[in-house]
Symmetry: C2
């Protein structure tokens, strides 16, 4: 019989997860996972106590997940894994809008609203901002049937799903762009905010002496029939956390100026006082 | 500001988790973890869909854990990680009893019973076995005050905590060895059994085309004042799964013959009919 030792364990386990594996892709992933998992433990000479703390950490991370919070995505984000996966699947250099992390607070099923809608459902303590732009292909040709799934924190630094006092779908909507590719909506200027620190990820950040803040941003999932959907943010230029995003998700091309506008025509169109805060961002999608 | 790419992400993330980390050991572990986590994703060019399936898998694994089931330990066991950690911390070649995995079904707080006790609380469908042996130091000197925390499955292949019909602490006890190091107890001969397959780990085994069985064994945690506690099993010689343990935990020196005994004196002492099943295993502990 096999007597398992440090010298043969990784080979034996790898064989067990590859030789009868129906899917070649599964076999590839299992093999790499086992190699790196075992190498990690060997490299640091992981103690049994540390192993058990790891088991407890992962268990607590699972327990923290519910329909409104995804602590494993937050863990992946804060360890930079999400951005590695993003970079693998969306290499730089393309002509379309760059992507970044989904984050743990996306909720499927936000109400579909016409372009021009106001998505502020809460008390509106934040600074009102008019968000405008276009959705086109990478050459600037407007796309018909584009949708922009948007979500963001309120001025209290919380997403609606984190805040028991927030109305449902506050600062969250699926905006239908016009046939000419133009979109607009009224929201609040996003603020920088800490990722949740009351769970295992908070303890990890604390152990590493890292702050938990993300630079202010609006989340977008932009889609159009026949084109590749892009999951991205637009960041507020000048935010003090742009250089130290807790989840490493910043990209220079996604940083955007939020300006003070005195455009009377726009103000009248959207029922805003002047001056008002405004941001414009044009998205470019690649063919699917 | 930093623009994160595949080329710089691992360096940037590693720096973030090591430069301000209070504990040098934490910094070492975080650095190795990030390196292997990122390398894994890059090596297999992990897709976003695969990443998300991984997130869901880990989340479900956490959700499956409760006070009676530890799916993350089972995952660690079935991926061979637990045995790697065992091998790191208990290198072969020592004179003491070899260790193996704790497994996911250990429960702290089993009743303390005198040597010679019967730990069968259930219907006793299994074959009765007399377990005997000694606890000594590695040179064979009997140890005073030794305890043996034992647990095992019943004949229906379930641990008490898996079986709603099992009496509490069935086939589970903390046996106090005698002052001369001898211990004995009456139990049931263990049977091979599948690890739980109704959770994420079951799906993993299935995807890899692996069976879920473990060769029959008794679990032991053997301790004595001043000596290193050993977590181990004794395996039933001849079991057909000894060569393909689902958790890679077999070791040749832990495989033991369960014999049919006609010893009338022993039978009378323990109130057993003859012939009866018997196993003897002598444990050797190393100084703490």
């Amino acid at each position: 019989m096999k007597d398992f030792t440090l010298d043969n364990l990784t080979d034996v386990v790898t064989e067990a997860y590859t030789k009868n594996t129906a899917s070649p892709r599964h076999a590839e992933i299992f093999g790499a996972l086992i190699k790196h998992l075992h190498s990690f433990a060997k490299e640091v000479s992981l103690t049994e106590q540390e192993w058990f703390e790891g088991i407890q950490f992962l268990t607590e991370t699972g327990k923290k997940c519910d329909d409104k919070r995804q602590e494993f995505i937050l863990l992946s984000d804060t360890l930079g894994l999400s951005m590695v996966v993003d970079a693998i699947n969306h290499p730089k250099g393309g002509k379309g809008t760059e992507s970044t992390v989904l984050g743990p607070f996306y909720v499927e099923g936000a109400p579909e609203l016409e372009s021009g809608s106001n998505i502020i459902k809460g008390d509106g303590d934040g600074e009102v901002v008019l968000v405008t732009g276009t959705v086109s292909d990478a050459d600037g040709k407007p796309l018909k049937g584009a949708k922009l799934d948007v979500w963001q924190t309120a001025s209290n630094q919380l997403y609606d799903v984190q805040d028991p006092n927030a109305p449902e779908w506050n600062l969250r909507a699926k905006i239908k762009a016009k046939d000419n590719g133009e979109y607009s909506f009224i929201s609040e200027k996003p603020t920088s905010y800490p990722v949740p620190t009351d769970g295992p990820v908070g303890r990890l950040l604390s152990a590493a002496g890292r702050h938990a803040f993300r630079p202010a941003h609006l989340h977008f999932i932009v889609s159009a029939p026949g084109y590749e959907t892009v999951t991205t943010h637009i960041f507020v230029d000048g935010d003090k956390y742009l250089d130290s995003d807790a989840v490493f998700a910043t990209k220079a091309k996604l940083v955007t100026k939020f300006i003070s506008s005195t455009d009377e025509k726009l103000a009248a169109e959207y029922g805003l006082p002047t001056p008002f805060c405004r941001v414009n961002y044009d998205f470019g999608l690649m063919p699917a």
